[in-house]
Subunit: 204 residues, 2 copies
DNA sequence: CATCTCAGCTTACAACTGTACGCTAATTTA
DNA sequence: TAAATTAGCGTACAGTTGTAAGCTGAGATG
């Protein structure tokens, strides 16, 4: 195995170890360099061969989580294209994501309101991508004017993430309940913006 | 000063000291007993004369925050009663609360998605109160059927707290922008549930 | 007044933290 | 093959943590 390969592998071990620690109820700021090193099977000081800081590792993890989020969006789009209600399909896909990658979503959730301004910003950016994509979709597919679509997309994403937070610690039954409620709530917003446009059809 | 009085005073110092530390960007789980003691001007071990744990102090702080939240609701109701749009008044009151008691709101926000299951539960309960009050209001004042009102209230509260999180770190201009967007979004939901009831007037 | 209670203190300790320093052994480069 | 690079290690240290143990002095109680 080449030196570079080996290094990449250890780097992945560190990342995986960190996610492992996040799986229990921990924040990034609450896991120590030594713990991560222990989990990755290296000496504490070897950590520095890969990351300058725990902060640098943290930002890497947020990036990885953002990547997963974007893959989620792609999958949702694919499913929608192959038939099925937009809201139903999106919510179902999202909920599956949360269940399958609970530690990834938990990371985003916690660091979004967390201690580090840098993490908060990084997570906000990822969520903004999410919102932008959704508002593009609403503008193009539903022919809703830009400003209304943006507001609609933002509130929908807020609802989805907030419900997702509840779903994260729920059992299967409760999760289903949350999904169904969320779908109805998203339809309210959808209906609401349409109703608004009927009342004020030339909204700036 | 009587012994009891003195003890109460120190207890308040501890609580105030903890809030002080939360003012900087910290989680409850990230502030140490010794720091709190330092801030309160007592020896570390004296802390135990007042609280069994940092956890016990944490739950006390969440309770205090919940109290502030309920006062907020009362104030909003009073203002609504003395005229002004429900949504506008509520959002304005809420935003003032966030600005004036930013550390209290921050505590609720952080611990809602935080590390400790006990804190999460405690915060969720406080938010649930909030939601219950709002749905009661919607049922009584707007004559909307129970199940729709509950969904409407839940999504409104989710939006308000989520926007509040953004407002927490925003300057005055951005804060105003967030407020205005939030108001429009809440109106979408309001409109949406009314539109839903027009379509399906005998919703279960 | 004598006794009790107890809030707050000092001292102490073991556990853990981040990281500086220098070594080793193996891969890479020339 | 000889030299250079470097991933990973072990040791070490100063700082912080929670908390156990026991003391003190002032307010409470009789």
């Amino acid at each position: 195995m080449s030196r570079q390969e080996q290094k990449q592998k250890t780097r992945q071990n560190i990342i995986a170890g960190a996610f492992q620690l996040l799986n229990e109820n921990r924040t990034l700021s609450a896991i120590s360099l030594r713990e991560v090193a222990r989990e990755a099977g290296i000496a504490p000081t070897s950590f520095y061969r890969h990351f300058k800081d725990m902060d640098e590792l943290g930002l890497t993890l947020v990036d990885e989580a953002g990547l997963a989020l974007r893959q989620l969006m792609r999958q949702a789009r694919r499913r929608i294209a192959s038939g099925g209600g937009v809201i139903d399909t999106s919510v179902d896909t999202f909920m599956e994501f949360i269940s399958a990658n609970s530690n990834v979503f938990r990371l985003l959730l916690r660091e979004h309101t967390g201690t580090s301004a840098a993490y908060r910003l990084a997570v906000s950016r990822e969520i903004q991508h999410f919102t932008d994509e959704l508002s593009d979709y609403i503008i193009e597919q539903l022919r809703i004017p830009h400003d209304v679509a943006v507001l609609q997309a933002e509130s929908m994403v807020r609802l989805v993430f907030s419900a997702g937070a509840d779903a994260l610690e729920a059992d299967t039954i409760l999760k289903n309940d949350i999904s169904e409620r969320l779908k109805r709530q998203l339809r309210f917003i959808q209906l609401g913006s349409l109703a608004y446009l009927q009342i004020m059809p030339d909204s700036k």
